[in-house]
């Protein structure tokens, strides 16, 4: 009668009052292809969740910069289980992104069980070596989409695309399991989201910018295939 609940983490989230499973945070001063990558990945996750019984991926789609930051966005983020952050250099120059990160960071501290090593923010690096602030340096970032981005204009033409999307979806569902372990105190958390101020990024620990050099190559006879 009251045996183990058959619902999965996506369903449990909705039952606990979450509106979205994933909130996608990205800077809008990103180049065209960056926006395409964000939408392509968000769309693929949405499809993946649809196959798992339904999940909501919310893409923060402010149409243009300078638009008033909608308070509804704060609530949307508050009612999201996991935040996916697309990190490029402009991420750390965007006030919106700084607010989103601050909200998601405070929420994860309240929602995740003590002692867990998992975070409810999944940063995706779109460059291998961007200058990262201290707050992000401690977080584990995903770099695995980088080879796909470099390989082709069409991400999904890469043979690893579906594998990586599945892995990401699984990771999100595992984190949602942790997030949903306790029913959230919505009143307190919405208040937190309403009042959160932009994260002050700490770049003091970032490695100093190297002297800018033009790309260069070293040719050594390493490739055994040619010999």
């Amino acid at each position: 009668m009251m045996a183990a609940l058959p619902e999965n983490s996506l369903e449990r989230c909705l039952r606990l009052g979450f509106k979205n499973h994933v909130f996608v945070s990205w800077p809008h001063l990103i180049e065209d292809r960056g926006a395409d990558i964000v939408r392509e990945l968000a769309g693929a996750l949405q499809n993946k969740f649809n196959n798992e019984g339904g999940g909501v991926v919310y893409v923060d789609d402010r149409l243009k910069s300078g638009e008033k930051w909608d308070p509804a966005l704060r609530l949307n983020l508050c009612r999201s289980g996991v935040m996916l952050a697309f990190l490029v250099r402009s991420y750390f120059k965007s006030d919106y992104c700084a607010i989103e990160w601050a909200i998601a960071d405070q929420l994860q501290q309240q929602r995740l069980p003590k002692g867990t090593t998992r975070g409810a923010i999944i940063p995706i690096l779109l460059s291998e070596k961007p200058p990262l602030p201290a707050q992000v340096k401690t977080t584990q970032c995903r770099k695995d989409f980088l080879p796909l981005i470099t390989f082709s204009q069409l991400l999904k033409s890469h043979p690893q695309w579906l594998v990586l999307v599945s892995q990401l979806a699984e990771e999100i569902m595992e984190i949602l399991d942790l997030v949903c372990a306790q029913p959230p105190d919505w009143t307190a958390q919405e208040e937190l989201a309403r009042k959160a101020v932009a994260m002050a990024w700490d770049f003091s620990v970032a490695r100093p910018s190297p002297v800018l050099n033009l790309p260069n190559f070293v040719v050594e006879e390493r490739s055994s295939a040619i010999r």
Binding site: V59, V88, S90, E128, S157, L214, P215, V219, R222
Partner: protein
């Protein structure tokens, strides 16, 4: 970065060693693209050893006036006049003046001149744009020597990225002939500027090792670039392949393939990468004729001739138009080689043979005529004239015959059209249709339109193919001949347009979705297409998502009218349900509409034999009426919802709880207690309970009990808390809290 009006591509051709045929490859690929009516710019970046301009000589032997080095010298001067951002910044405002300078200079025709290339197929001339290395005046060596690329890059780190964007918005293809070896300019050309990198090499160790290393390091450095998100798709090109030594040839192709596969597996994360098909096709044979002078093969010979240099360049140019090397490989699969090319080759061979025979015959006739003239001095002038006339007529006939037998564009177009209609592979069909686009200048041509209609059909109906906005837009535009969607447009194109709208809606591009639906709806209405109802519902969703609730409601009313005209009860129900959802936030304002719609919906669901939906809509009616203050109406609705329940306990207790709350609101405590208890009883039998909501109901119930009953109930709850296993026994214990 702002959206480019033209989505051009910067493609760099690089070779580690000189003399591998790199510039020749640039010239041939550029000519093929220009023949296909693409806007092409060729840039000579081999400043120390310029030569690309020799392939495209200026008219009347004029010299070059300016070129790449002058462009960058001028650019440096203009950028120095602006206060630069201290480091790379994506901030639009900070970069705007720099972008403006670069775009203006790109549009300045002073550094670029036009060249004309001929097509051996139709004999026409096509324009191409060339930026030679420079003006080659006395100061040229000084200009090149004095330009410090590293200093320029450090002062303006954004410059090459902005330049690539500016060029891409002016031209379809920008082909860069890079300098060889390991140089600053080589790094700029291979990593900073392009999105595709062609690595040209010959079958020897030094040439191959150089390009393989450059491939690996260029991809890695692109990944490390902090603000460049374009791909760097590498396309290896084996050049000067000598067909006489087949064993050696195969051995070196194999070496090149293995080396590049290793790089791709590592840098592109392509497990088990196998580029066999690509490497067998992407190679340029050595033809000694073209070793002399600067002759562009694809201007001189038809690319339909198998084994020719032109055919090799054409095959490679097609690969290069694909997004990546795997897509190129798919294009080159055996069926993609295409019966048309083979057929054309056979026809050319047959035509050449016939032409040869005819020429021999004419020569014989001419000889006979002259012999006759010599032998018969007595033959009149008229006879000789007749013989000469015979020769002239014969030559003219031969010329006409040869011309008529050449693979003319019309025949190729027809063959391509047939092949498109015969194929079931959407990407193959799209590729062929793109080629047809280049061959047929009139976009309204029915063959072109039906080809694109077929592509649209394949995109929509091929199992396993997920239609994309890019592909569908291309197919729809082609099928409509760049015209608007109209009542006589093929149904498949209308359907593709509707799907395009759906994709925009799914992708969160609501305004674009609404724009498409606005075009589709009148056409569907004119064609009495029943799917117009779906289109209107989708449009309403898009409007709702863009927060235009009034617009969404107006659209739903239209949809409702269409559905009623068609007596489609299912659709009417779907629309009414959506309308109720839109009215819900303002239940008081829309109370009359809610009453009418929910009443009708309950009736419709009854007709449709969907008791679960009927119960749900009655419950929703109760919720909305209660919210709007109509307690009596709400109570009645809840009762009806209970009566409509399908017997499932999981659907019953939430309604009972609502009835209880309503009774409490009407200060009917006894009735509320009875309903709460009934709700709790129903919960006990629910196989899939919502524990959070159950707790809420228990708390509400305890609040209204008298003190003694509440104490008992709390005791039961305490016991439950001490026993985390949620068995039914603890809930049954709640019965102790029954009112006395």
């Amino acid at each position: 970065m702002t959206q480019s009006p033209r989505f051009g591509q910067v493609i760099t051709f690089y070779s580690y060693k000189g003399g591998v045929g790199r510039s020749m490859a640039v010239a041939n690929v550029a000519t093929l693209l220009a023949q296909a009516q693409r806007k092409v710019l060729v840039i000579d970046f081999d400043l120390e050893a310029p030569g690309l301009h020799r392939y495209f000589p200026p008219p009347d032997g004029e010299g070059e006036s300016a070129g790449t080095i002058d462009f960058f010298t001028q650019l440096r001067t203009r950028l120095q006049a602006l206060a630069g951002p201290p480091e790379w910044s994506e901030a639009e405002q900070a970069l705007a003046p720099f972008r403006a300078v670069i775009e203006k200079l790109v549009r300045d025709s002073g550094f670029v001149r036009e060249a004309w290339v001929k097509s051996p197929i139709d004999g026409k001339d096509y324009p191409l744009h060339l930026m030679p290395a420079g003006g080659f005046g006395n100061d040229y060596p000084d200009l090149v020597r004095r330009f410090d690329w590293l200093e320029f890059y450090r002062a303006h780190p954004y410059v090459f990225q902005l330049l690539a964007h500016a060029l891409s918005s002016e031209y379809d293809y920008i082909l860069i002939d890079s300098r060889t070896g390991l140089t600053d300019v080589g790094g700029i050309c291979t990593v900073l500027l392009p999105q595709k990198l062609v690595l040209v090499f010959t079958p020897n160790r030094q040439s191959m090792i150089g390009v393989v290393e450059v491939a690996e390091q260029a991809i890695r450095q692109r990944k490390e670039h902090p603000s460049e998100l374009r791909p760097l798709a590498v396309f290896p090109l084996l050049s000067r392949v000598e067909n006489a030594e087949t064993i050696l040839q195969e051995e070196w192709i194999e070496r090149g393939r293995r080396a590049f596969q290793m790089v791709f597996e590592k840098e592109y994360a392509l497990p088990n990468c196998n580029l066999k098909v690509y490497f067998e096709a992407a190679q340029i044979p050595h033809r000694s004729f073209y070793a002399y002078g600067e002759v562009i093969a694809v201007q001189r010979e038809s690319h339909a001739k198998q084994g020719s240099l032109a055919a090799a360049f054409r095959s490679f140019a097609e690969c290069l138009q694909q997004d990546d090397v795997l897509a190129a490989q798919r294009l080159l699969t055996p069926q993609a080689v295409g019966s048309v090319a083979i057929e054309s080759n056979l026809r050319v061979a047959a035509a050449e043979e016939q032409a040869r025979r005819l020429a021999e015959e004419l020569q014989a006739q001419k000889g006979l005529a002259i012999q006759a003239a010599n032998r018969g001095r007595r033959l009149s002038q008229l006879t000789v004239g007749a013989a000469v006339l015979l020769v002239v007529v014969g030559l003219a006939t031969g010329y006409w015959f040869i011309k008529s037998q050449r693979p003319d564009v019309a025949a190729i177009v027809q063959a391509r059209s047939n092949e498109i209609l015969a194929t079931g592979d959407p990407s193959r069909a799209r590729h062929l249709a793109e080629e047809l686009n280049r061959l047929v200048p009139d976009k309204q041509d029915p063959r072109l339109r039906s080809a694109w209609t077929h592509v649209a059909m394949l995109e929509l109906t091929t199992p396993g193919v997920e239609p994309s906005t890019v592909n569908l837009t291309q197919a729809v535009t082609g099928a409509l001949g760049a015209g608007p969607l109209a009542a006589d447009s093929p149904p498949m194109v209308v359907r593709a347009s509707k799907t395009l709208g759906d994709l925009y809606l799914k992708g969160g591009r609501y305004q674009e979705a609404v724009d498409i639906y606005d075009k589709v709806v009148p056409v569907q209405q004119a064609g009495k297409d029943p799917t117009v109802v779906d289109t209107l519902i989708q449009k309403a969703r898009a409007l709702e998502q863009s927060r235009d609730v009034e617009g969404a409601l107006a659209t739903l009313r239209l949809a409702e009218q269409e559905a009623r005209n068609r007596q489609d009860s299912k659709k009417v129900a779907e629309i009414l349900r959506t309308e109720v959802g839109l009215w819900a936030p303002n239940a008081s304002r829309f109370l009359p509409q809610i009453r009418t719609a929910t009443q009708e919906l309950a009736g419709l669901y009854d007709q449709l034999k969907r008791p679960e939906d009927r119960r749900a809509v009655l419950e929703q009616r109760g919720d909305l009426l209660a919210r709007a203050g109509d307690v009596a109406g709400a109570s009645e609705a809840y009762k009806a919802a209970r009566a409509a329940g399908s017997g499932s306990k999981s659907s019953e207790w939430p309604v009972l709880a609502k009835v209880a709350r309503l009774a409490l609101a009407k200060k009917q405590k006894t009735s509320a207690i009875t309903s709460y208890l009934a709700a709790l009883e129903a919960m006990l039998d629910d196989p899939k309970p919502d524990l959070i909501k159950m707790e809420e109901i228990v708390d509400e119930y305890i609040k209204i009990l008298d003190r003694a009953s509440a104490r008992d109930a709390r005791k039961a709850l305490k016991w439950k808390a001490a026993n985390p296993a949620r068995s039914s026994a603890d809930w049954i214990a709640l019965k102790y809290g029954q009112p006395r």
